[in-house]
């Protein structure tokens, strides 16, 4: 191929009720082909019930250099987790 197809990110919902998760990426000429390629590359072992594809260029990613200001302030704020409550035994899945 003289010209590479654009890169697409693939998100698959593995079963109803769960969220779509990032499965990987692939090359395709357009959205329709990306969907078919995703079906063949990522769901041929019965992994999914729904597929999303999005061209990789439309994803805005955070810059690793900014990790300090983005994420470090959250490290010492454990009180943002609801870990200081006594839960009754009857409440499950919290």
């Amino acid at each position: 191929m003289k010209k590479e197809w654009p890169l697409w990110e693939v998100f698959v919902r593995s079963k109803n009720g769960l969220e779509h998760r990032h499965f990987g990426s692939l090359h395709a000429a357009d959205a329709e082909m990306a969907l078919e390629n995703a079906r063949d590359v990522y769901t041929r072992r019965n992994e999914g019930v729904s597929i999303w594809v999005v061209e990789s260029k439309y994803i805005t990613a955070s810059n690793p250099e900014d990790n300090g200001e983005l994420f470090e302030p959250a490290r010492d704020k454990v009180y943002r987790h609801p870990t200081f409550y006594d839960l009754p035994d009857e409440v499950k899945h919290m």
Binding site: H27, E32, E36, N37, R39, V41
Partner: protein, 251 residues
């Protein structure tokens, strides 16, 4: 054997899928790109899965302790009943797509009709196959449109590929003596009656792909009666090598 006609009929369907699957399998690791390579191999595996059920059924009909491997791997060339279309070489990607699409439209029609078979095994195999075949047709049809309505070069190559395989399409609708018998019994499908619908569907897609529908007065046939093209011997040599060299081997 109790029912030679049914046996022949089952093999007629099974051999098409085996040989086309073998052709597609040759592309494993050689597809035009990673994604298409996997897609073509998936289709080959679908076809092998379908044909395996059919060979198991055929082996049961043959009795005498025969297995699916005996039926699939150990017959002589003249005993294979696949159409000439599916044994034709891959050549370029346009050829792979043209051959696939021209077969898929037929295959889908056949499986749809076979759902109503009075033979429960055949109807069950058709029910399992039809979603796979439906996807095959979508895949090959989409590519046919892309390449036909693509660049000048892809258009020319796609037209050449369609022209090349067109003479093999008419054989799909021929009826052998066993086919006639099985259709009359409500077990098989009267494929000769599907011809108009087939050419209508294919022509509409070709038009959408900006390709010309070939006008070809000469059609090539013989595969259904066991008279194959020169390519068939090479396919069988590769296909049968393991079972013939190491009889009864299993993985």
């Amino acid at each position: 054997m109790k029912n030679q006609d049914l046996y022949n009929y089952v093999l007629g369907i099974a051999d098409n899928s085996l040989i086309l699957g073998q052709r597609l399998g040759e592309l494993c690791g050689h597809g035009p790109n990673l994604e298409t390579d996997i897609a073509l191999t998936n289709i080959a595996l679908d076809l092998f899965g379908q044909t395996r059920s059919l060979y198991q059924y055929a082996a049961k009909l043959e009795g005498d302790g025969k297995t699916e491997d005996d039926v699939a791997m150990l017959r002589l060339e003249r005993d294979y009943k696949n159409v000439l279309l599916v044994e034709q070489p891959n050549q370029h990607f346009g050829h792979v797509i043209a051959r696939q699409y021209l077969f898929d439209v037929f295959h889908y029609q056949l499986m749809t009709a076979l759902l109503n078979s009075k033979d429960e095994t055949l109807a069950a195999i058709a029910a399992k196959s039809i979603k796979e075949v439906s996807y095959h047709k979508r895949f090959s049809g989409d590519w046919l449109k892309r390449l036909g309505d693509g660049t000048q070069e892809s258009h020319e190559k796609m037209q050449e590929a369609i022209d090349h395989f067109w003479p093999y399409t008419d054989e799909l609708f021929d009826m052998t003596a066993s086919d006639e018998k099985m259709a009359a019994d409500g077990v098989g499908v009267n494929v000769s009656a599907m011809k108009d619908a087939y050419y209508k569907e294919v022509s509409e897609l070709l038009e959408e792909a900006t390709l010309e529908v070939p006008e070809n007065p000469y059609f090539k046939k013989g595969g259904k009666e066991g008279i194959h093209s020169e390519h068939m011997g090479y396919i069988l040599t590769e296909l049968q090598y393991m079972q013939r060299t190491y009889p009864n081997m299993t993985w």
